[in-house]
């Protein structure tokens, strides 16, 4: 009898265990994405959405943790051997999905591939000069000069297996102009927490869990079904009908409807992206005549004439966060002191315009796109009408990004919108060197208004080589103060971002850089 009992217990225990095991094996996230990834090759196109998705399959030497701080990944530690040389100690016992061992040769091959002349991602690793393999698990990376942000850059440099690249003739990145396709465009072999099962472009890409992952998984997913649904209305419908259980870009106007659904949870927060306006600073306006916007008083007047609180409440449905400085709070270099939005004061704006000698205002081109930023068309219209109220005559020009960007980049816009998230670097230095610095060689690519502030340039250049973090961040903050005092660009707000997830998930962290990281998700 006793034996029978034990036996029965054993059977029941076994059955329960099997049930639990099957349950644990079915943790799937069905991800309804606003767009497809462009390729399975992270180095094929400068697209951060694709790079982030592929981060589930491929990993870098370092990665961001849940608080967006850098932590070891494929490298376990690093040190500076000289101001321009970094030595990385690599993790031992890591295997690629095909079973190959991870060694320093793989890191070298990946660095060569991403920094190749034909690589569109060359700019993601600007300071890289060369790398030398010291031994199987040590590699030295040499830089062009002292550069404090190497780790930030490396979070986005995915590591390939050298043997796999060589065997498939994919050591070089694909090159559109050469007219050849690459093996890595259709296949993957990474070290990451998930492995590719199948991909049908525009339909679905399926990842399954990598049981042999080197790290202790903090997620319990076994399968990711990534399904692009480009029409926002259809995406919402698929969520409501339960065909997908996560949407990383829920349309702002549909949030109230989604909030009413019993089985959904809405995750909302301000994005890292700060939306701002830039001013043409050439001698002549595009709209004709000498350029009044070279006068600080005029720029101040234009800033005071805009009621950002009204825009937040009416246009952005209370979901945006008004900004006083050009970077979001979680970006290193940010200072709360600078982040005081300029108060709305139309009377003072009019007075400043009179003082500057433009009592009747002036005419200028105001170039916006209709899809780059959340509700951009509407807030541009609101700003234009607020400017008209103080006597200015903006000529609003709204169109698709691909059409507006050449105008802005070639100085054919007097006032234009720009959003900057400092991605993938996540540091104020990104906006200083790319947007605020004078147009000079490789700096100031997005200095579309063509201004020059030597003092700000000097601070930027010093920050570029300053290895002491506090000193560097102070320099960056000082540069942001110049930008604020001189109204080089006019900060508007951090735009809202919203994810909608099924309540079946117990843990679904949302990141301010708007990138879903499924290896932190528990269902």
């Amino acid at each position: 009898m006793e034996m029978l009992k034990t036996l029965r217990h054993g059977v029941i225990g076994g059955v329960t265990a099997t049930l639990l095991a099957t349950a644990a094996h079915a943790e799937t996230v069905r991800w309804g994405a606003p767009r497809d990834i462009v390729s399975l090759d992270p180095y094929s196109y400068g697209d951060s959405y694709t790079i982030n998705f592929l981060n589930h399959v491929y990993e870098g030497l370092v990665r961001y943790n849940r608080d967006l701080e850098i932590e070891p990944a494929l490298a376990t530690s690093w040190e500076l051997v000289s101001p321009t040389t970094w030595r990385f100690t690599l993790r031992e016992g890591v295997k690629f999905h095909d079973g190959a061992d991870f060694t320093a040769e793989d890191v070298l091959a990946s660095l060569l591939r991403v920094s190749d002349e034909a690589s569109p991602l060359k700019g993601n690793l600007p300071a890289y000069k060369s790398a030398t393999v010291v031994d199987d698990y040590t590699i030295d990376v040499e830089l062009n000069g002292a550069y404090p942000l190497l780790l930030n850059d490396l979070t986005n440099i995915h590591i390939f297996d050298k043997g796999w690249l060589v065997a498939n003739n994919a050591e070089k990145p694909t090159d559109v102009s050469a007219g050849v396709e690459g093996y890595a465009t259709f296949n993957t072999n990474g070290t990451g927490p998930f492995m590719l099962e199948s991909r049908t472009p525009e339909a679905q890409t399926i990842l399954t869990v990598n049981e042999a992952w080197w790290d202790e998984p903090s997620h319990n997913l076994t399968r990711i079904e990534f399904q692009p649904i480009s029409s926002a209305a259809t995406r919402v419908a698929a969520l409501l009908s339960g065909e997908v259980d996560f949407v990383d870009s829920a349309p702002v106007q549909d949030l109230p409807r989604l909030e009413q659904a019993d089985n959904l949870e809405i995750l909302e927060r301000a994005d890292l992206r700060t939306v701002m306006l830039g001013f043409n600073r050439r001698d002549e306006l595009v709209a004709g005549g000498t350029n009044p916007m070279n006068d600080l008083k005029v720029r101040q007047a234009m800033q005071m004439a805009v009621d950002m609180e009204l825009i937040r409440d009416k246009v952005m449905r209370g979901k945006s966060r008004n900004a006083g400085t050009l970077v979001a709070p979680s970006i290193p270099g940010y200072s709360a002191e600078l982040d005081q939005p300029v108060a709305y004061d139309p009377e003072k704006a009019k007075a400043l315009l009179v003082e500057a000698g433009y009592p009747d205002g002036f005419e200028f081109d105001f170039v916006c796109t209709n899809e780059s930023y959340v509700n951009e068309e509407q807030f541009c219209q609101a700003i234009a009408s607020m400017w008209s109220r103080v006597g200015l005559s903006p000529k609003l020009d709204i169109g698709p990004t691909a059409k507006q960007t050449p105008k802005r980049a070639n100085g054919k816009a007097d006032v234009y919108t720009l959003g900057w998230a400092t991605l993938p670097m996540l540091d104020t230095y990104s906006i200083l060197v790319q947007v605020l610095h004078s147009k000079d060689g490789n700096s100031g690519v997005f200095n579309w208004g063509d201004w020059s502030y030597p003092e700000l340039d000097k601070l930027t250049q010093s920050a570029a080589v300053e290895l002491d973090r506090d000193t560097r961040l102070q320099m960056e903050t000082d540069a942001l103060k110049i930008a604020r005092d001189e109204v080089i660009m006019m900060p508007l707000h951090q735009q809202p971002m919203a994810w909608a997830v099924s309540k079946e998930f117990s843990d679904f962290p949302q990141f301010p850089d708007n990138k879903p990281r499924m290896w932190y998700v528990t269902k």
């Binding site: 390729s39 090159d175 698929a238």
Partner: protein
């Protein structure tokens, strides 16, 4: 007949080149892909280099010339964005679009023809009037509204059909089909319905007009006088005489449906050629846009040529006129 075919073929080549030329005129106004191909951190030098490598710095006539020469050899290039062979990408998606169009055409005939007959023979009845009235709605509602409406009712409220995608597909080697799997069959219902709505109306009105015409003709009167049953008169004699224009129009409309499917495909995330094209437009992926327009133009030209040739075969007067 040979001269006729040669003439049609040279016409076809001319049409294709004109379409491509117009397409390139439009592309030069669409914008610049380079800024979207590189990320925030790329330098000016890298941007200029890439533009040069893609040949985008060349004058537009030269870009057009290079394209035509390559396309004539069957080489449409590599997609800027996906780094894949454009022809492969299009042929991979063609089955999805074609199946959608085929099912939509089937629905439009199965529903449209009987409705046309009924509205013609029972002109005064309330249900014929009702059909006529609904057909106005069908012809005037934009297809994305119809699509979203169908999704709302059949996916969100009733939960009968999936709201997006193509379901599971079976790969036959040269063709992928969704018609053989359960999920594929369920998935095609809503997009095909939405795409066919306009067609249903068109077929119904055409059949109705033709029927009214034929019912007035002498042989129908004689048939009635002979005491042939009404059912047989309507469906065997009258309807048959109406079908020729319906078949012609349906064949010609297939080209139109393939081109217009892009709205339906976007709404239902149907992985066909239209969706590919729409995305190429947003990213200024010139090789895909150019190849898509060429292929759609080719489909139109081929369909028209076949219809013309069929006419010439059927109607000897046309052949004579051609000589």
């Amino acid at each position: 007949m040979l001269a006729f075919i040669i003439k049609r073929l040279s016409n076809a080549v001319f049409v294709m080149i004109s379409v491509t030329f117009l397409a390139f005129v439009i592309f030069s106004a669409v914008g610049d892909p380079v800024d979207q191909m590189l990320n925030e951190q790329a330098t000016q030098q890298q941007r200029d280099d890439l533009r040069e490598k893609l040949g985008l710095d060349k004058p537009f006539l030269m870009q057009f010339g290079t394209f035509v020469v390559r396309a004539a050899q069957g080489d449409f290039g590599i997609s800027f964005r996906n780094q894949r062979d454009v022809l492969d990408m299009i042929s991979e998606r063609f089955p999805a679009t074609f199946e959608l169009v085929l099912v939509a055409t089937f629905i439009s005939l199965v529903v449209g023809v009987p409705m046309g007959v009924i509205t013609a023979i029972k002109r005064k009845s309330w249900y014929a009037e009702a059909m006529q009235f609904t057909s106005i709605i069908g012809i005037s509602l934009p297809s994305f509204v119809v699509g979203i409406g169908l999704i709302l009712v059949f996916s969100v409220w009733l939960g009968w059909f999936p709201s997006f995608g193509r379901g599971d597909t079976v790969d036959l080697g040269w063709w992928t089909t969704g018609l053989l799997t359960r999920s594929g069959q369920m998935s095609i219902v809503l997009p095909a319905l939405s795409l066919s709505l306009f067609q249903v109306t068109l077929v119904m009105r055409l059949v109705r007009a033709e029927m009214l015409e034929v019912l007035r003709s002498d042989f129908i009167k004689f048939a009635r006088a002979r005491g042939v049953p009404a059912r047989s008169i309507h469906f065997r004699h009258a309807l048959r005489n109406c079908l020729m224009p319906v078949v012609t129009m349906t064949a010609m409309q297939i080209g139109g449906l393939i081109a217009f499917a892009l709205v339906t495909e976007t709404v239902f995330q149907w992985p066909g050629m239209g969706l590919l094209f729409i995305q190429a437009v947003t990213f200024v992926d010139v090789p895909i846009m150019a190849a898509y327009l060429c292929i759609v133009a080719l489909i139109f030209v081929v369909l028209n040529t076949i219809v013309d040739m069929a006419y010439a075969v059927i109607d000897p007067r046309l052949r004579g006129a051609d000589k």
